[in-house]
């Protein structure tokens, strides 16, 4: 009997099962709720069976890990060879304080660094700029010059550890500071790789720390691609991010679709410049969220790998390495409750498990106190321990893609892929990603989903433990991180001293050369590097680019 007939017979048998066995149960007792919808608002049925899976040609659609279309993983033996990188996003106050936190995390078994910058840094302002008022060190560490970067990484071996930096608008400048610091330590070409987020499209869409308009921003990004594969080939010059899209309120499907659409936009921009796709594509990396719906999240990562491989192949990539979607995952900050904060440890465990079962390359686990403030030392240690328990004790690392072949997960994977292509079509009809941003398409889609989710919670259609059910009337008794009150003053004094003691003649020359290069179409990385090496500050360097490129203003819609 051929496969088609087997499927037909199965469908018929399933219908009989539904009408008899299942129906008997439902007649006796109705289900807890009228219908079950996952976080993407897709209805989930009682049972999934082989006939639900449409992409069922194993070798063509799933295949083995390490082989196209990489659904089951990018490495043939995944965590049996090497565990994911445990990389906690951290940064607060001054470079000194954050440097201490990094050492603390490394001492406790963290295997990669991830830098959180404060808001002024994210917007390319120095700590003493008027717009920086009140923001110093609040959401991350302040880095206003190479001097701060040197302190941030003092005593940290950048030749053996990889560093990820969440920086977008001024990514090229901050990256230049990291490179310059490594050069001063005489290890430039041996930097053990790392990542700059450098994903401006999702800034316009969701995270909103943009500086320049889309066109010059895309140019800067392609500059970093080109500089990267020529000069620092192990560096990921972008981390195409769905995380913030999800945090802003999107569904998992929207996160998947919008992130991949952004990714393809960067590929188009770089190939339009004439760069060889097989030169830069291997250095494109991704960053996803891990929310509470375990299976939906796992399916999301699997679908992402397959879609990316298929699309890159269509765009002309020849090397396998160009087709691999390597990604970092962070558990969902927006899922944490301020109420009963300790129970966040449980949420984070489920989310982290989803990331690992989905084959992530690196992982950040949130701390239980993050709906209240930046994490305390103890909270961040427990978050790291959560990863270590999954890695060392749970056994989920023994085999690759353990949920592959689960009828439910395969159905979810196929369905999310189909929905993603539907979004690709809609974006295409709007003229592409940037026109869609300018029309507010993504922003509206996300706001809709966020509002629907909030309504579901307010109407008790979705239960969040400790928030709209199982509440406790207690004062929150966990310690909040306190920052060094002298940090800001110390930082401002350092800046003043720096501006006085450096070779200001040279700084002016370098900034002027950068301006001229920006007005033409030179790759700006060498010029930026020359500025920061002379201790031109972040604000000064960024201001040159602001003058040439202008600033982006968003459409305020809700």
């Amino acid at each position: 009997m051929d496969e088609k007939n087997t499927k037909k017979m199965l469908s018929a048998a399933k219908k009989r099962w539904k009408d008899t066995t299942l129906q008997q149960t439902l007649t006796k007792n109705s289900e807890r709720i009228k219908s079950f919808h996952n976080l993407s608002n897709k209805e989930i049925t009682t049972l999934y069976t082989p006939d639900d899976i449409h992409k069922d040609d194993y070798l063509a659609n799933q295949n083995f890990p390490g082989q196209f279309p990489f659904l089951r993983g990018i490495h043939p033996n995944l965590y049996r060879g090497r565990l994911w990188t445990m990389r906690q996003f951290a940064g607060f106050g001054s470079a000194e304080e954050t440097n201490q936190r990094y050492k603390y995390l490394l001492d406790h078994g963290e295997t990669g660094l991830s830098v959180a910058f404060d808001y002024p840094t994210l917007y390319g302002y120095d700590t003493d700029h008027p717009c920086a008022r009140g923001e110093f060190g609040k959401c991350g560490v302040a880095v206003s010059s190479l001097k701060d970067m040197e302190i941030l990484f003092s005593g940290i071996p950048v030749d053996t550890i990889t560093t990820s930096m969440t920086i977008n608008g001024p990514a090229a400048i901050i990256w230049a500071m990291y490179i310059a610091n490594a050069e001063k330590q005489h290890i430039s070409k041996k930097i053990n790789g790392g990542t700059i987020q450098n994903d401006i499209l999702k800034e316009y869409i969701a995270q909103k720390s943009y500086i320049f308009p889309p066109e010059p921003s895309m140019r800067l990004i392609v500059d970093t691609f080109e500089y990267g594969f020529k000069e620092i080939p192990r560096w990921n010059t972008i981390s195409i991010s769905g995380y913030h899209i999800r945090e802003a309120g999107s569904t998992a499907i929207q996160e998947l679709a919008f992130t991949l659409a952004d990714g393809l936009e960067y590929v188009k921009a770089a190939t339009a410049r004439g760069l060889d796709i097989d030169a830069f594509a291997p250095r494109l990396s991704f960053f996803f969220n891990a929310h509470n719906d375990l299976f939906e999240e796992i399916a999301k990562y699997r679908a992402a790998r397959r879609i990316w491989a298929q699309e890159l192949k269509k765009m002309g990539a020849k090397k396998d390495r160009s087709l691999l979607m390597r990604f970092h995952t962070q558990t969902a900050g927006c899922s944490l409750s301020a109420q009963q904060p300790e129970i966040n440890i449980v949420r984070v465990t489920i989310q982290a498990l989803a990331a690992v079962l989905g084959g992530t390359q690196s992982l950040h686990t949130n701390s239980m106190d993050e709906a209240l403030a930046l994490p305390s030392e103890k909270a961040v240690r427990i978050a790291l321990r959560t990863q270590q328990i999954i890695a060392e004790e749970s056994g989920v690392t023994y085999t690759v893609d353990p949920l592959g072949g689960s009828y439910y997960v395969e159905w979810l994977t196929d369905m999310m892929e189909e929905e993603t292509y539907r979004y690709f079509d809609r974006i295409e009809r709007l003229g592409g990603v940037i026109p869609a941003i300018e029309k507010g398409f993504f922003q509206r889609e996300i706001a809709e989903s966020a509002y629907r989710y909030q309504k579901e919670i307010d109407n008790h259609e979705r239960i969040i433990v400790g928030v709209n059910d199982y509440q406790l009337d207690e004062t929150i008794g966990i310690p909040i991180l306190k920052m060094d009150e002298k940090g800001e003053e110390r930082q401002i004094n350092r800046l003043k001293k720096l501006r006085k003691n450096r070779d200001n003649q040279k700084v002016r020359e370098r900034l002027d050369q950068l301006r001229k290069a920006a007005e033409k179409d030179h790759n700006l990385m060498p010029f930026i590097l020359a500025c920061v090496k002379e201790y031109a500050t972040l604000g000064e360097t960024c201001q040159v680019l602001r003058d040439v490129f202008g600033e982006y203003q968003e459409l305020a819609i809700y």
Binding site: Y119, E135, E203, Q207, E247, Y451, D458
Partner: protein
């Protein structure tokens, strides 16, 4: 009596606008007239808009941790402009320990994560001065 007029504003550099947008929409759905400032507003800009739009309520949203400076800036400037009748409320990631000082500065109420939006609607309807 006409509709309650609310300015939902995002002071400072913080880009987290999910909460502000949800609140703006919920207040509109509750029958209020809502003006959303958009991102990156200075205290000056917020107060100027509040005066121009003749609002009864200013709702500030901040998740960056800069509330002790930026919320207080807005409240102080409101006093300077004799806006005693404008109700100022805030929301975001705000540790409980900071709330007494914010109230003292003139922020009438602070709504943290997990607040049902109807609670904010009720609060405004109860305490709005007009």
């Amino acid at each position: 009596m006409g509709k309650i007029r609310v300015l939902v504003a995002k002071p400072g550099l913080d880009g987290h606008d999910r909460g502000a947008k949800i609140v703006a929409r919920a207040l509109r759905d509750a029958g209020m007239e809502v003006i959303y400032s958009g991102l990156h507003q200075t205290a000056d800009q917020i107060i100027t808009t509040a005066i121009q739009e003749d609002v009864h309520v200013i709702g500030l949203s901040l998740l960056s941790g800069a509330h002790m400076t930026l919320f207080v800036d807005v409240a102080t400037l409101a006093k300077k402009h004799d806006l005693q009748n404008v109700l100022i409320i805030g929301g975001g990631i705000i540790p409980e320990d900071d709330i007494p000082a914010l109230k003292k500065a003139g922020i009438s109420a602070v709504f943290g994560p997990g607040t049902p939006v109807e609670k904010i609607v009720e609060y405004i309807e109860t305490y709005v001065k007009r």
